[in-house]
């Protein structure tokens, strides 16, 4: 290994790290684009193996999947997002699945869209929508059903959603991966269905000193959240935690 190789390798490490850190600074400089307070119901604590001392939170949302009338991501919206959704009546087996695409998604927090959707699903299943034990989406893990975040819209660029949903405490705009597939319901009517399959980034790191508060918490067992988080989003729609409080009154 000669000196030139060493210098080149070190230069690449320096440039790469500088690139990342400049991006982080650019994201966090100036006023945050969004600031929202969420609870453990929306930011679930990820259980880490013993070999990993880092703590992360994962955004949970509804609906996970549903037919076109249940979610806002029907054929028209999917085409807006760039999916090539052929006419369902004419498409064959090979067009049933399309590769997922990146887009921006608007989530409504504790709003009427979620309540409406829960009522519809519960009624359809013959359950009482007012019953707190009613599980609206059996395809999602139980604790994710308690989230207050509900997908209401999607767009290719965030500015469209920021203009449409200006209430920063009620709506959260995030970068996400949208999946699309052609599905058939019981009547064999084929429709295009889109859903949010992943939010980017998938996990939000909890830095010190906030991580110490969460370190002693075990898995969630009840519907009541144990902590709340002040989440900020910067110009690149990358989040960070500005405050975290346990809901039994303890703070950092």
């Amino acid at each position: 290994m000669n000196r030139t190789g060493v210098m080149l390798a070190i230069a690449l490490i320096v440039i790469s790290n500088a690139f990342v850190l400049i991006g982080v600074r650019s994201n966090r400089t100036g006023a945050a684009v969004q600031a929202i307070e969420l609870t453990e119901n929306e930011l679930s604590l990820q259980s880490q193996p013993e070999d990993n001392s880092g703590i992360g939170l994962r955004i949970t949302w509804l609906p996970r999947r549903g037919s076109a009338h249940e979610t806002p991501l029907g054929r028209e919206k999917l085409q807006e997002l760039g999916f090539d959704c052929a006419d369902p009546s004419g498409s064959d087996e090979s067009e049933r699945w399309l590769p997922p695409r990146q887009a921006f998604v608007a989530f409504e927090y504790q709003g009427p869209a979620r309540a409406r959707w829960m009522k519809e699903r519960a009624t359809k299943a013959g359950l009482d929508p007012a019953d707190p034990t009613t599980i609206p989406d059996p395809r999602a893990p139980v604790f994710e059903n308690w989230t207050g975040l509900f997908c209401v819209d999607a767009a290719r660029d965030p500015d469209t959603l920021l203009r449409r949903y200006p209430d920063r405490e009620r709506y959260l705009i995030v970068r996400a991966v949208i999946s699309a597939a052609l599905t058939a319901d019981r009547t064999t009517l084929r429709t295009w269905e889109g859903w949010v399959s992943e939010i980017l980034p998938a996990e939000i790191h909890v830095p010190l000193p906030f991580a110490r508060l969460l370190g002693g918490l075990g898995p969630k067992t009840g519907q009541q959240p144990r902590f709340k988080v002040r989440l900020l989003y910067g110009h690149r729609f990358e989040p960070w935690i500005s405050d975290l409080k346990l809901l039994d009154g303890k703070t950092q």
Binding site: N2, S53, E95
Partner: protein, 357 residues
């Protein structure tokens, strides 16, 4: 004897000397050629001196047992490197949650730099870079950890650009310490970066580049053709790695496209796409065999043959498995294998006839 330019050529010189000695011994026993005692003595002294010089300058193996030990050392170097990589990753993950962000960033930044500097010092002390190669693997793993964990700490949106940085880094280290495993790792990273970038440009999310196998074809082909443009005088074993990685990418992509026409970006019908890629797959593997034979590249011949056989078996299963009696299916496979053996035997004897005066 022409001066060897690197260790590989020096090792070939050693093997030529051994082969010459064996053949000379055989000719002497058969009475074809007899040297006088003085000639034999001068020849032996010259060859021994040459072997000693080659061993001293290039650290080559001059006996079979040395060769076996060297192979074992190379394996140990690779395994040791991988074990150290795992240890670095797991050690960091075990303790990173206990330290605040600024020290995390500093540790992540300095660890690969320290490994690269350690590589420089060990390379100055070793003729054959066993420890240097091991440290090279560790440096590569540290750089991967550097960017992955930074992204995790600051909640950065994942992107394929990290693969570009990793690929270039691995190539720098590979050429620095002549380590083929690092070269392969670098080429794979660059392949993934290229395919992911093409995928993102065409619309889908970059992480689903595997759902667009065609985007691996062009970068794969570029890897295969790189040795034609970039001449490797000192690292003469590197072109094989370029061809190997490129061909595996191309052949694997073709195998997927033969079955999954829905993953193609071509604006053609399903049957047409599958037909096009089936023909292309057989043509590509056949071309690899032919070029490998022509240019005496055994590895390429073997790779082409393996994928040709895979494609053939794949097609036969698709066409016949469902309706043909199973014993008949395997009987036909066996007969095809026998037929191919006969074809290759004819090619081999024809090659031999061409080489004989």
């Amino acid at each position: 004897m022409s001066e060897p330019t690197g260790k590989r050529e020096a090792q070939k010189s050693v093997e030529r000397i051994h082969a010459f000695r064996e053949e000379l011994g055989q000719l002497t026993r058969e009475g074809v050629l007899e040297l006088t005692a003085e000639q034999q003595s001068r020849l032996d002294r010259h060859l021994d001196r040459t072997l000693a010089e080659l061993a001293g300058r290039f650290d080559v193996d001059i006996s079979v047992s040395q060769k076996q030990i060297s192979l074992g050392m190379r394996i140990l170097s690779a395994l040791g490197g991988l074990a150290f990589c795992a240890a670095v990753f797991l050690f960091f993950y075990r303790y990173w949650g206990l330290i605040s962000t600024p020290p995390q960033v500093v540790i992540l930044f300095l660890t690969p730099i320290a490994a690269v500097i350690a590589m420089y010092f060990t390379a100055r002390r070793e003729k054959t870079p066993y420890y240097t190669a091991l440290l090279g693997l560790v440096a590569f793993a540290c750089f991967i950890m550097n960017l992955v964990v930074l992204g995790s700490i600051f909640n950065i949106t994942p992107s394929q650009n990290a693969c570009l940085a990793w690929g270039v880094f691995a190539l720098i280290l590979a050429y620095g310490c002549r380590f083929r495993l690092l070269l392969a790792a670098g080429l794979v990273s660059l392949l993934i970066y290229s395919a992911a970038s093409l995928t993102a440009l065409s619309g889908p999310y970059w992480a689903f580049c595997a759902s667009r196998p065609e985007f691996f074809l062009v970068p794969g082909l570029a890897a295969v053709l790189t040795p034609l443009v970039v001449h490797h005088r000192k690292a003469s074993d590197f072109p094989f790695i370029y061809r190997l990685v490129g061909l595996v990418a191309v052949f694997a992509a073709l195998e997927v496209l033969m079955h999954q026409s829905r993953l193609s970006v071509l604006p053609l019908g399903k049957k047409t796409i599958e037909g096009v890629y089936q023909v292309t797959a057989f043509a590509a593997s056949g071309a690899a065999i032919w070029l490998g034979i022509r240019n005496q590249m055994l590895g390429i011949v073997n790779l082409g043959s393996a994928f040709f056989a895979l494609y053939l078996f794949d097609r036969l299963v698709t066409w016949w498995w469902d309706w043909m009696p199973k014993y008949l299916f395997f009987l036909i496979i066996g007969l095809i294998a026998v037929g191919l053996l006969a074809v290759f035997r004819r090619i081999r004897s024809r090659t031999l006839q061409v080489q004989q005066p």
